[in-house]
């Protein structure tokens, strides 16, 4: 009898606890689960809710290099130039006009008049100069404009950037958020830019609230407020817009595409990307210093199959180190899988019985784990035993820069959209051990072409140069290009004007509800 009493009491306590937990749930602002099936969250007062991988690591544009930061910095800060999301051509941002000297050693810039920072301070040539110097002195982003020698202020709105050596794609480098113009008082906690949105508040690791900048020089299509929430899991982000917790899911998993497409109220927004995933050989190490081994491995891999399987049919098999949207991209079809040819080459190189090696990548990239498993399986066909090793990014960088790797997976973002940024650091012999040439590739002919390419303004000549470089790289097979990425975002149907930049950036001021 007493036991029943106890049991009743306990049950009551548990129910009470649960009820307490569920009470006043509905008063909550966001995140409540809506009905299953995904009624879109209504747009209240043009308030856009975005779920993305994360928040900016640092809201000081000169102290961050990660993509999460780049997305948000693009909304709060303006650089001098921007890339058009559709054409990848250069557009003017804070600069109103510009002129490059014929020898490609100096750039005259005229600033857009009447622009003010979020706190009302005016933007003038002096502020821009100081901001660019600040970039140059930043250990993080300084490399972007390390070719700048000095900057002269001509008058209130005019300045001249003098380069130490001819550098044709300088304007493209000035599109990077690392070169965005800052107010001198800018800090991580208090970002003062000129951008379309103003950071209102932040809950670390959780959300940022942005409000539209009424005095922005550009055109805001109709977003008053943005809530940018961090949600590291792709699946979770998708569930969030399905259940009505947000309007845009920034980056969704390729495997979720069919689900989004089948959903009445959700749209997929796809765009080409500037990112290429590749496998590199450590070409200074035996046996990969033998071109026959590299070719054998190239023939052993089925690149289209790798690309298709790992990326679920999104993007495309890589036909160059540069993606098709990058200027001066030149398409060369990958070698078709040919195991007989591969075994022949292995035998010629003296490895008929194969060898053991390692295949390394950064553990944070789950898709690389899939690529690696498939590559290892394909290599077994020519008796190569590749041990898969995943490293955390930090450890991985250490190994790769020290040249301790043998086979490695990595990707490259040609963030300026110009072949120079894509090919120079990765294929010039000055690019190793530090600088991006992780295959330790060295070819004097390529070096000469790359040097000529960045100092030439003539685009026909540049196209020729970069075609040759891409052909030489294909022949050397120091890098096996696997996949050109595709940007995948999902949004509820009422979100219009959604244009994705190949760099991954979305200019959210173009978005409106319709």
């Amino acid at each position: 009898m007493k036991k029943r009493l106890i049991a009743t009491l306990m049950l009551f306590a548990m129910i009470a606890a649960l009820v307490a937990a569920c009470a006043q749930d509905d008063s909550a602002a966001n995140g409540g689960a809506g009905a299953n099936g995904g009624d879109a969250v209504p747009a209240v007062d043009d308030h856009l809710i975005v779920v993305a991988r994360g928040l900016a690591v640092n809201m000081h544009p000169h102290e961050a290099l990660d993509m999460n930061s780049a997305y948000l910095l693009n909304l709060v800060f303006d650089p001098l130039f921007r890339l058009n999301y559709a054409t990848m051509e250069i557009e003017y941002a804070l600069a109103e006009s510009s002129e490059m000297s014929e020898d490609a050693t100096s750039l005259n810039i005229t600033l857009r008049p009447g622009v003010t920072f979020h706190n009302g301070d005016p933007v003038n040539a002096e502020v821009v100069r100081d901001s660019l110097y600040h970039t140059m002195n930043s250990p993080l982003v300084g490399f972007l404009i390390s070719m700048v020698d000095n900057i002269e202020v001509n008058d209130e709105l005019n300045l001249t950037i003098n380069l130490a050596a001819p550098f044709a794609p300088i304007r493209r480098h000035l599109t990077h958020s690392g070169t965005a113009i800052i107010h001198p008082d800018t800090t991580n906690d208090n970002p003062i830019g000129t951008g379309a949105f103003i950071q209102e508040s932040i809950v670390l690791d959780d959300r940022v609230e942005l409000v539209a900048n009424e005095n922005w020089w550009g055109e805001n299509a109709g977003i008053n407020r943005i809530t940018w929430r961090a949600m590291p899991e792709g699946t979770a982000r998708l569930i969030e817009i399905e259940t009505g917790g947000a309007h845009i899911a920034w980056d969704v998993n390729p495997s979720d595409l069919p689900r989004i497409e089948a959903h009445d109220n959700l749209n997929v927004h796809r765009s080409s990307s500037i990112e290429t995933h590749f496998m590199a050989f450590q070409c200074e190490k035996a046996p990969f210093n033998d071109i026959r081994v590299r070719h054998a491995i190239a023939y052993a891999l089925d690149i289209p199959l790798l690309s298709y399987t790992a990326y679920e049919g999104t993007g495309s098999p890589a036909d160059s180190f540069l993606t098709p949207v990058v200027v001066y991209h030149h398409s060369i079809a990958p070698r078709a899988q040919n195991l007989d040819r591969a075994r022949e080459l292995m035998a010629e190189a003296g490895f008929a019985d194969g060898f053991s090696t390692t295949l390394e990548f950064n553990s944070e990239n789950q898709i690389y784990a899939q690529l690696a498993v498939m590559i290892a399986s394909m290599l077994r066909e020519i008796n190569i035993d590749a041990e898969i090793l995943q490293f955390e990014w930090g450890a991985y960088l250490d190994r790769v820069l020290a040249g301790e790797h043998e086979l490695m997976l990595l990707s490259w973002n040609t963030i300026t959209g110009d072949a120079d940024y894509g090919l120079f650091d990765t294929h010039h012999s000055s690019g190793f051990p530090f600088g991006g040439n992780q295959s330790f590739y060295s070819n004097p002919a390529t070096d000469a072409l790359l040097e000529e390419g960045r100092s030439t303004l003539d685009s026909a000549r540049r196209a020729e140069i970069y075609r040759l470089v891409q052909e030489q790289a294909f022949e050397a097979a120091n890098i096996l290009n696997i996949h050109h990425d595709e940007r995948l975002h999902a949004a509820v149907a009422s979100v219009r004007g959604f244009g994705v930049n190949p760099t991954g950036i979305i200019d959210l001021w173009n978005v409106f509800f319709g």
Partner: protein
């Protein structure tokens, strides 16, 4: 994982027949016997993994790709379905038992050996040694084990060794504490005094009298510790810092399947169940062992 009942009642007096008694009591508990049977079954599966899921000549049994056959739901041919490469999940779960058990055994051996030594020294010699050692154990205990494990794993080349150290160091305090507590209890008992009185040396006393009398709680702890080790190894692999692919590890399989959880639930269901069943069985066995060693609790 947390509940460790230290118990060294009068184990000392009658030893031989006691093992028999323990087994008799153990055998009587249906829960303990179920646990033992499942564990034995898992060990057999691990031993005969290559027979159950054989290699195709070039590829090991757990890594036979069939890209035309991806994401199959469980069916007659693939009773647990297939994964993103069309590999048979059953084969991977079977081979995974080998990895989990191996990791578990090495971790337990490693942390038990160290823990027993630390605990014995602390318990038996007391004073300065105890203070230093137990403060060190306190230090380890006050760092969340998962953070400790991640930090250790980050410091090393990934693989078996890093898992063993990462999990093993986290588990060390459990053994040290149990050992110290038992040594302290045993030390107080009269037969130790008797041994001193007939002039036995300290090390002889530790070896001949103290250690044998601490075996029961350590065995129980080791059984539970095996479960602990397998769980943590899986957790680390789940975070992507454990055993490297394509070697099948249950935690890693979970982590891979996580991306496809909405459409292909079988990819997370079966490896997860394998972990749960394995740990469940070990815990049942551990419970049974504890009750068998300490009948007082049962009666």
């Amino acid at each position: 994982m947390g509940d460790v009942t230290v118990n060294v009642n009068n184990e000392s007096k009658k030893k031989r027949s006691q093992l028999h008694d323990v087994w008799r009591r153990f055998r009587k508990s249906p829960i303990a016997m179920t646990g033992l049977c499942v564990v034995v079954f898992m060990v057999l599966v691990a031993l005969f993994a290559d027979v159950i899921a054989p290699s195709d000549g070039r590829n090991p049994g757990y890594d036979i790709h069939n890209l035309g056959n991806r994401f199959q739901a469980p069916n007659a041919e693939h009773i647990m379905g297939t994964d993103e490469f069309g590999r048979d999940i059953f084969a991977r779960v079977v081979h995974g038992s080998r990895v989990s058990l191996l990791v578990g055994f090495i971790v337990v051996t490693f942390s038990m050996t160290l823990g027993v030594i630390v605990g014995a020294i602390a318990g038996f010699f007391g004073k300065v040694a105890e203070n230093i050692l137990m403060r060190f154990i306190d230090v380890l205990l006050s760092i969340p084990p998962i953070l400790l494990a991640i930090s250790i794993a980050a410091a090393m080349r990934p693989g078996m060794m890093s898992i063993v150290l990462a999990v093993g160091i986290g588990a060390l305090p459990l053994y040290a504490r149990v050992m110290r507590a038992s040594v302290l209890t045993v030390k107080e008992q009269e037969f130790i005094e008797a041994a001193y009185s007939i002039g036995a040396s300290k090390f002889r006393i530790i070896r001949k009298h103290v250690l044998p009398n601490c075996i029961a709680p350590i065995i129980v702890q080791a059984t539970m510790g095996l479960a602990y080790a397998i769980l943590w190894a899986a957790a680390l692999s789940f975070l992507g810092i454990g055993i490297q692919p394509p070697t099948p590890e249950w935690g890693a399989m979970l982590s891979e399947g996580r991306m496809y959880i909405r459409d292909h639930w079988h990819m997370v269901m079966f490896p997860g169940m394998a972990i749960a069943i394995m740990i469940f069985a070990l815990n049942m066995m551990g419970d049974g062992l504890r009750d068998a060693f300490d009948p007082r609790l049962k009666k």
